[in-house]
């Protein structure tokens, strides 16, 4: 059985659901089973949001990932990556933005957050918003993050993922598609496996 369990996390409005939509589209291309649990409603307003994404070539039972079973945490925000550590399996990957989102007065010491993240050998941390801005694709930082995760999402081929990006953003025009592919490539090449 080939399967991948992913925790997607971030702050409401950061675009984690777009990452989920692309992975969902890729799962259709790859003819995989998918279950994706989302957060709607109150928490979306600047609160912590999370999505459980389960992919498998066999039927999936639970919509939720059990503790200690996630292969990967993909997070748009460093503190939010750490929030879901109890779900990560021992050698699981952490793919996260290094850029904190300060919308609470008691945000923990940033160095502590970073030290904790770096203590994981399988953590991949990048200033995705900064890089996105430098590359004139400020709205595509989430696809940089997906690119970083791509080489560990070995249930898909890279082409299947790029095709999924094209399909998901097609309705928004060629420029948006190209920006997102560019972002994906930046993320992909930033992670050496």
């Amino acid at each position: 059985m080939n399967k991948i369990d992913i925790i997607l996390s971030g702050i409401g409005g950061q675009g984690i659901l777009s990452i989920a939509t692309v992975i969902g589209q890729a799962s259709i291309e790859a003819d995989l089973y998918l279950k994706q649990s989302e957060v709607h409603g109150m928490s979306q307003r600047g609160g912590q949001v999370q999505s459980d994404l389960r992919l498998s070539d066999c039927e999936i039972q639970s919509d939720l990932i059990p503790l200690g079973k996630a292969d990967m945490i993909i997070s748009m925000e460093p503190l939010e990556a750490l929030r879901y550590l109890p779900y990560l399996k021992e050698d699981g990957q952490i793919i996260t933005s290094s850029e904190p989102f300060y919308n609470i007065p008691n945000y923990p010491d940033y160095n502590m957050v970073m030290d904790k993240l770096k203590s994981f050998p399988n953590s991949h941390i990048l200033e995705i918003d900064k890089i996105a801005k430098e590359n004139q694709i400020p709205k595509s930082s989430n696809m940089i993050l997906l690119g970083m995760a791509a080489s560990y999402l070995n249930i898909f081929t890279i082409d299947q993922m790029k095709h999924a990006i094209e399909k998901v953003f097609a309705s928004k025009g060629e420029k948006i598609v190209n920006d997102n592919i560019k972002a994906f490539n930046i993320g992909l090449s930033s992670v050496s496996k």
Binding site: K35, Q36, H40, R45, G47, L64, P66, G68, E80, P105
Partner: protein, 530 residues
């Protein structure tokens, strides 16, 4: 030809209802139910076939209108979040007595663990209370398939049928295989006075409803949504309701004799007895309150061991998850890492630039001068005024309670009694309370924070938009004490003075800060660009 679509549980229900031949959906938005009606509103087949789908003012008007459509022979879906059942309880319970003509499915989306709700009440009790069947799907596919069966059963038994979802199914996406679309019912209104629930009719109709009960039980054991899956010889008999079935399969427990998968109520006691016979004890796993656990105990001899939420084998509160279910079987969690000690909660907040923020900023300044004041809140984005940095609200109970509670508190001598309510909540359940306040000239100050939409659930139409001043005048509020203002930072001082003036006026006043929601504004602007 069968075709697969990637949909949310809610969208599976919507598709199921469209394909089952509904002529209308009646609903008030509420997490986690909102996407059902939104899907039907956007669906091209629904539009072409004029399936009625506009939002209703509240769940009671929705339920009653649906009953009217059913009276006329058409199939209707009614959707709401669990607490909406409280609002429509009167027509809901009585529709089981009157019976229905065109099929009626009442969908209630429960929110165990209260992700976006004030309680985690269990809608299955309402179905039991009304003595009607209830379906509880375990997967999105089952949700899709069930809707049609629910309409069939509704028309066969001539009662409304409930469908209960929980957040985790409503908001989980997966591929669902869909089938063909069946035509809508013919227009065929009821004649005569059978639907007049005066005592002599009601007594007869109630007896009829009681007579239908064995048929409902029979349906639960024959439709196939409830079934016994034998696993090993003797062992624990598991009753897995709704989503619980998936969690049991996920943790794959040993020493289980069989699983009774339950997705339809009322449960057939014979199925429970059959399970008990081949098992050493029974473990009931259900989302919500321990309803089945109590029923099962009653079906079996007093010394038969039944475990569940009541016995502490599962947590008494909160939604089920794969870990709590695994723990009930003694399976150890695979958790490796703990959350760091420095982790803090990130509360949801009002958007940057939101008008409610300016209202609370001004109100908080006024409150500094009135230490005896209390602020009665309501349900919507502005409920977040309880959180940092505002900490403004003293209460939030249910839709509309801000006005009536402020009135009651003022009756008891509280001053200043201030109510904060949103536009959609005001038309949902605030207007009647305002009439009470006007009739007694209650000394209250109402802040009707109007952002021109039902914002918390994602920006649905609000029933009273452009009508609030007229509504307040019509209900008898003195026009001198209806004040409208634009909540922007530059106006904080004038809003502050306005609130103070109205506190100093000893009667009913309504201040209406009005500015469009930031979320819908952004959406409208990007629509314009297209």
């Amino acid at each position: 030809m069968a075709q697969k679509q990637l949909v949310l549980g809610n969208e599976a229900v919507a598709l199921g209802a469209i394909h089952a031949g509904i002529s209308g959906v009646y609903a008030y938005p509420g997490t986690p139910s909102t996407e059902i009606t939104e899907f039907i509103q956007k669906d091209s087949y629904s539009k072409e076939n004029k399936i009625r789908s506009k939002w209703c003012t509240n769940e009671k008007t929705a339920m009653e209108a649906a009953l009217g459509m059913s009276f006329s022979g058409k199939r209707t879906l009614v959707c709401m979040k669990h607490v909406g059942m409280n609002v429509c309880a009167d027509p809901f319970i009585n529709s089981a007595i009157s019976g229905i003509n065109g099929g009626v499915v009442v969908l209630s989306a429960d929110d165990p663990s209260m992700h976006s709700s004030q309680n985690e009440q269990d809608s299955r009790f309402y179905a039991k209370f009304a003595m009607i069947p209830c379906f509880e799907p375990s997967t999105q596919q089952e949700a899709y398939d069930m809707v049609q069966k629910a309409f069939d059963l509704s028309e066969e038994l001539k009662v409304p049928v409930m469908m209960r979802l929980v957040t985790r199914l409503a908001h989980s996406r997966t591929a669902v295989e869909v089938s063909g679309i069946r035509p809508q019912n013919e227009f065929n209104p009821v004649t005569g006075n059978d639907w007049v629930l005066h005592p002599s009719n009601s007594r007869k109709l109630y007896d009829k409803l009681v007579e239908k009960q064995p048929v409902m039980v029979q349906s639960s054991s024959s439709l196939g949504f409830n079934r016994i899956e034998k696993i090993a010889g003797k062992g624990v008999g598991v009753i897995a309701c709704g989503l619980a079935y998936n969690y049991v399969k996920e943790c794959n427990p040993q020493n289980v004799s069989a699983i009774l998968k339950v997705s339809q109520y009322p449960i057939d006691p014979e199925m429970v007895k059959e399970l008990a016979k081949i098992s050493t004890e029974i473990l009931v796993i259900e989302d919500g309150q321990p309803q089945v656990e109590i029923d099962v105990q009653a079906f079996l001899s007093a010394d038969y061991v039944v475990k569940g939420r009541l016995t502490g084998d599962l947590p008494r509160t909160g939604e089920l998850n794969p870990d709590s279910v695994a723990a009930a079987f003694g399976i150890k969690s695979s958790k490796v890492y703990d959350t760091p000690d420095f982790m803090v909660r990130r509360f949801p907040q009002m958007c940057v630039g939101c008008g409610h923020r300016d209202v609370y900023t001004a109100l908080n300044k006024v409150l500094e001068e009135y230490p005896n004041a209390r602020v009665f809140g309501d349900i919507g984005c502005y409920t977040l005024g309880v959180n940092p940095p505002f900490y403004t609200l003293n209460t939030t109970i249910d839709m509309g309670a801000s006005i009536t509670m402020a009135k009651g508190a003022a009756d008891a001598g509280l001053y200043p009694a201030i109510s904060v309510i949103g536009d959609s909540t005001f038309t949902h359940s605030g207007m009647t309370g305002l009439l009470d306040a006007v009739n007694e000239n209650a000394d209250i100050t109402i802040i009707l924070s109007d952002n021109l939409t039902t914002a918390m659930t994602g920006g649905q139409d609000s029933a009273g938009t452009n009508k609030f001043e007229q509504i307040c005048i019509g209900l008898g509020v003195d026009p001198e004490h209806i004040k409208v203002v634009v909540p922007i930072p530059q106006n904080i001082e004038s809003i502050k003075n306005m609130i103070k003036d109205e506190i100093n006026y000893h009667g009913v006043s309504v201040i209406i800060p009005r500015r469009e929601c930031m979320q819908t504004l952004r959406r409208h602007n990007s629509d314009k660009k297209k």
